[in-house]
């Protein structure tokens, strides 16, 4: 099979994210490219959760509406998702909880006989799935052992019972090659930051970036990383600035609400020229919104947050591979230009699982600007052509380093002088020009396909679904990865002059579209989605056809 999907559903608290990951690893072990979408409401017990695991022989980063196998831990899953099942698809379900036309596994009975806890039910279904997919028991055994270091034995027992009670329905090809590393978007961001030189990570928990905090806290020992969870996001941002002054390479992570609290600190970082990387995982709506669902509603906010005017970098990677690369580069560029760099993620990217392809492109060798001997006496804000002053950390022998949130002179002493104010303002913006120039060396706009009839323009996690849709419709994709400073020249070149331009966004007001119009680009139609759920391939293809016949 070249491309197929498995949906596993049940109640919150039944370990459906974990179950999805195990299925993903099973398929990954057979050399497939994997994408996994996990859908869950914001509660700990009860409610409906499901994971869609898609496997394909080509690179993917989006889910499909239709599934080939439906794994149901309860009746609700069957009611909600039976309509997705492709003709000839298989249902595997708990026959003690529901009735269906498929492979019934008596999970309650099995658990009782094995004396197993309720959380192992999903292992029974996974075992049954493995058999149905023609996966060898040894492969499943190996993965369960790895994924359940605790409770290995009991999970294996339940899985084996499910395996034995099942029958083969599909044929998974023999392992053709070793699978790629399977990581979540947040793990890719974390690893990218580490690769870029991260030494501290400071965050207050907030979906969808909490799992980045958890991941980095887990590996802090391995990487000598300092992970801190302070009292609130205001403290997060200020601690990050303090840490940067002390020589740390530091990142923070949050979602919209936390980013609101960080904005005063963001302006401080801009004014005081303290580098910091902000991972902003978008979720749906203003205020608390839909905490566990996705959105691209914060693009303009990320570009403009804070009073006043200063330079910043905003990037929006599309999948784990891009997230890995751009997290590393964001950190390097933030330190090189002494600016805040925002990585715009969303629930889809942060919590989705992807096969990671490490860019063949080598990471840049971004040189840093420490103070030299000519810098005596040291001046934290010395004027230079690029606007970038040599950055000395505290302490530096013989240097007095003065960092200031007021307009200041070259020494960092407060000023209200008109000429100095204007010069410092220009210095802050000159760094942005230097940054733009540097970005010219990067692939800041991603393109795909050839068709001259239709160009789909999108950003962030919509990249992969647009790519597949474009392939179906014979269209092209043009996707800016860097969103600020906007790579207008590269974008114009990439867009060319298609007959029609349709902008696809996961928000209600077409924010990228408004940026494009600002640069004088024609937007013929927009396809917007703001219900918190990412587009499936089929859904997007239909929506695009509705506006572009």
């Amino acid at each position: 099979m070249e491309d197929f999907s498995v949906l596993i559903g049940g109640r919150a608290g039944e370990g459906l994210n974990r179950a999805g990951q195990i299925i993903a690893r099973l398929l990954n072990a057979h050399g497939y490219h994997i994408y996994m979408y996990y859908d869950y409401p914001s509660l700990i017990r009860g409610g409906h959760n499901f994971s869609i695991i898609r496997a394909a022989t080509h690179s993917i980063g989006a889910h499909r509406t239709h599934v080939d196998v439906l794994l149901a831990l309860n009746r609700e899953t069957l009611i909600l998702h039976s309509g997705r099942l492709r003709e000839g698809g298989a249902i595997i379900y708990d026959s003690d909880a529901a009735k269906a036309d498929g492979i019934g596994i008596p999970l309650s009975k099995i658990l009782k006989e094995e004396g197993a806890p309720p959380i192992t039910r999903n292992s029974g279904l996974i075992g049954a799935f493995a058999r149905a997919a023609g996966i060898q028991w040894e492969v499943l055994e190996r993965i369960i052992k790895k994924e359940f270091p605790k409770g290995t034995e009991i999970n294996l027992k339940v899985a084996r019972r499910g395996f034995d009670a099942s029958e083969q329905k599909l044929r998974i090809d023999r392992p053709s090659m070793k699978g790629l590393p399977l990581v979540s978007g947040n793990e890719a961001i974390g690893l990218g930051l580490l690769r870029g030189g991260l030494t501290s990570y400071i965050a207050y928990p907030m979906t969808p970036t909490s799992s980045l905090l958890h991941f980095l806290a887990e590996v802090e020992g391995d990487f000598g990383l300092k992970v801190v969870h302070p009292e609130n996001e205001i403290a997060v941002m200020l601690m990050a600035i303090g840490a940067a002054c002390g020589g740390e390479k530091v990142a923070v992570g949050t979602s919209g609400g936390g980013f609101c609290l960080m904005t005063e600190g963001l302006g401080f970082a801009g004014m005081a020229e303290c580098p910091v990387v902000i991972v902003l995982g978008q979720r749906t709506g203003p205020s608390t919104g839909l905490p566990t669902y996705t959105s691209q509603g914060d693009l303009l906010f990320a570009r403009h947050a804070s009073q006043g005017e200063f330079s910043r970098l905003v990037t929006a990677p599309a999948d784990a591979s891009e997230a890995f690369f751009w997290s590393s580069e964001s950190l390097r560029l933030a330190w090189r230009f002494q600016i805040p760099a925002i990585i715009l993620s969303d629930k889809t990217l942060s919590e989705g699982y992807y096969s990671l392809m490490v860019h063949s492109r080598e990471q840049s060798s971004v040189e840093e600007s420490g103070p030299g001997n000519e810098d005596r006496p040291y001046r934290r804000y010395r004027f230079t052509d690029s606007g970038v002053s040599p950055m000395a950390k505290m302490p530096t022998r013989g240097a007095v380093v003065k960092v200031n949130s007021y307009y200041h002179d070259e020494d960092g002493i407060t000023t209200e002088d008109a000429a100095m104010t204007a010069s410092m303002q220009e210095k802050l913006l000159r760094k942005g020009e230097a940054l733009s120039k540097e970005l010219g060396k990067y692939e800041t706009v991603w393109t795909h396909g050839r068709g001259e009839d239709l160009a789909l323009v999108c950003w962030g996690s919509n990249g992969p679904v647009c790519q597949e849709t474009a392939d179906i419709l014979g269209a092209r994709v043009v996707r800016p990865i860097v969103l600020h400073p906007f790579p207008e020249e590269a974008f114009g070149r990439a867009l060319g002059s298609p007959a029609a331009t349709v902008v696809v966004e996961q928000n209600a007001t077409a924010q990228l579209s408004s940026i494009l119009k600002g640069f004088g680009h024609r937007v013929d139609a927009t396809v917007l989605k703001y219900d918190g759920r990412p587009f499936s391939v089929e859904e997007l293809a239909t929506r695009v056809q509705e506006v572009h016949a």
């Binding site: 690769r195 000598g224 303090g242 840490a243 002390g246 380093v401 003065k402 200031n404 949130s405 002493i413």
Partner: protein, 283 residues
Amino acid sequence: MREEGLISRAQNTWCPGCGNFAIQHAFKNAILELGSEGLSLDEVVLVTGIGCHAKMADYFNLNSVYAIHGRAVPAAAGLKIADPNLKVICCVGDGDAYAEGLDHLLFAAKRNMDMTIIVHNNRVYGLTTGQYTPTSPLGFRGKSTPTGTAEPPFNPIALMLNAGASFVARGYTRRQDQLRWMIKEAIMHRGLSFIDVLQICATFFDPHEVYDRMVYEPEGHDRSSIESAMRLASEWDYNSESRIPIGLFFQGERPVFEDRFRGVRPDIPSRENKIGMFLEGRR
């Protein structure tokens, strides 16, 4: 820059008679003495909020972070996380630390971070021209409360004792020797040192006559006892006209938060290896 001395070239813009001069003076002498006793001034960082007090950042030839209103303490915490050996001193205002940034103050005490917090407590917002603060007396008539406040003040000494600060003191600007001594002790203390310094605002709130009459240095107070410290703290509620004890209320020993960040860093090649190993495990 420091060759020019500890006081910078920045023009001083405090009002004549401002209590900040006395704190600046005590601070300068404390630093000079510590310097002559072997403290490296390169390792001192002065972190301030925003307000009249905060101009300290400009006035000293020391490393400084002139932060934003209420947020000196978390910036200072970040510095300590980066380098636990730094001597970080926060000069903050009462509006700054007790209103806008109270959360950070309490958490710094809870964590017992090894840094010093000096509150320039003039019991008024100076820079914004005279509104009440959390330590203004009940009924204070400020520009935002022309008919008088309806809320009694906090007792920051009691608050900080409760929150876990391991060095808690109160100073008065017109007790120079004690203030200088206290600042020195605070800087050298391992753990969170907190000094609430009673200071007048020459323009908007000047109770120096009351302070002169009421402040006293208690004798025989047991500084190692949190109960005695609490009792002493309750002698004055920042509201009534009662005796005002000044001096070191409490000094204790507790583990310091940032100690867990003293450690070696793996070099860059070993980082790359570790990333590679992690990814290999995910195949």
